[in-house]
Symmetry: C2
Subunit: 201 residues, 2 copies
DNA sequence: AACTTAAGGCAACAGCCAGTTGCGGGCTAG
DNA sequence: CTAGCCCGCAACTGGCTGTTGCCTTAAGTT
């Protein structure tokens, strides 16, 4: 969506978006993502981002008035995979989504976003983006389950939200809290159990 | 010999643990828990705790050298329910644990702890207590699944950790991220699906 | 009751970091 | 080649953590 910049009260507002300016923005957001993935939001220092990107702190503040808005911008620059699944069975679709997430989690921005999702409370300024990230992911996963229901793969009275959570929250919990390793096989087993269970109950 | 007390940096430390001292400690930890549940760790200010407990900031720092150690102490004062389950079936045990958690989550300390569990990254000083909280909970839940396996309620080759996560991570995710309401019925359905699925697969 | 001394109150301070300001100079666009 | 946008620089405000020295209060002892 080209120019985002939620706050309009800046100065004369980003007329030059090419050349040096574009390069500076790029470097700042990249450095933000990297720092975010390495130290998280709480310990994120603007001076460090300035140093890392080779840009003056003032320049950063001129474009993004607060630390939170900077992080917001950096995240929106490369949001996680939309969770648009493809496949002919629930299992295939779930695996595809999980694969996307695992791959995304390898990138600096991926790790950074995971840390942000984990943050929030006590940082109300960050809440909008966090809420959006969570909602996006959940929406896609619930839609996935709904397709399986429509397809007749799952009983018609299935609680799509619950099933979506049952399939993915073990994954996200392990990813976010960094406990035990996560792989495709784990997802596959999870899906198998849930699907079999739904048919049996 | 015996009591060394090299009276180095700090003073001679907590000899009087009754009377006024005990009252002060009590008030500080209580205020910490309350503030924690209201604003979370990131926004927790020592001055506020001092004001709320009617104690001078210096007094707080004399007992707990950092904000994190204070929070650590407040949490240890009333940790979450141990997850010691009781019941004759997996479902009964799971429901008992879930009930304890939901009840605990109503108290100031309960909410405070949930916020802390959610925090961590970027606050390395807080990591020990967070790790401990998570480990405690998980250990209890895995043991619960293991009992069900031993009892023959679940197949012997069941992955206890995975099943524990499948049953409880939808609950904790919803509790921590505050999305959708959580009730016993939800847990019951989750357990039913997982158990049925394990038998069928 | 008198005394000893641990523990709390007070106030000023150092250090870190977010966010601000005024000015000056280089780079881009036209 | 000129106008003015954009960035660099440096100094500053203000909030919060954690510290220090000194004084006051009260707990426990005789």
């Amino acid at each position: 969506m080209t120019t985002s910049t939620t706050s309009s009260t800046r100065r004369t507002r980003d007329v030059r978006t090419r050349g040096r300016a574009a390069d500076v923005v790029e470097r700042i957001l990249q450095a933000t993502a990297e720092q975010l993935s390495e130290v998280g939001f709480a310990a994120l220092r603007v001076d460090d981002i300035a140093a890392r990107s080779g840009v003056n702190k003032t320049t950063i503040y001129r474009r993004w008035p607060t630390r939170a808005s900077l992080v917001d911008a950096a995240i929106r620059r490369s949001k996680p995979p939309a969770g648009v699944a493809r496949g002919s069975t629930l299992k295939e679709e779930a695996l595809a989504i999980a694969r996307d997430w695992l791959a995304f989690h390898e990138s600096p921005m991926g790790r950074g976003i995971v840390r942000v999702i984990q943050t929030e409370v006590g940082h109300p300024e960050l809440e909008p983006i966090v809420r959006e990230l969570r909602a996006d992911g959940r929406r896609g996963r619930i839609a996935m389950v709904q397709r399986a229901i429509d397809r007749g793969e799952l009983p018609p009275d299935t609680d799509a939200a619950l099933i979506a959570d049952m399939i993915f929250s073990p994954l996200t919990t392990r990813l976010v809290f960094n406990v035990e390793r996560v792989d495709e096989q784990m997802i596959a087993r999870t899906v198998d159990i849930v699907v079999a269970g739904l048919k049996a109950v």
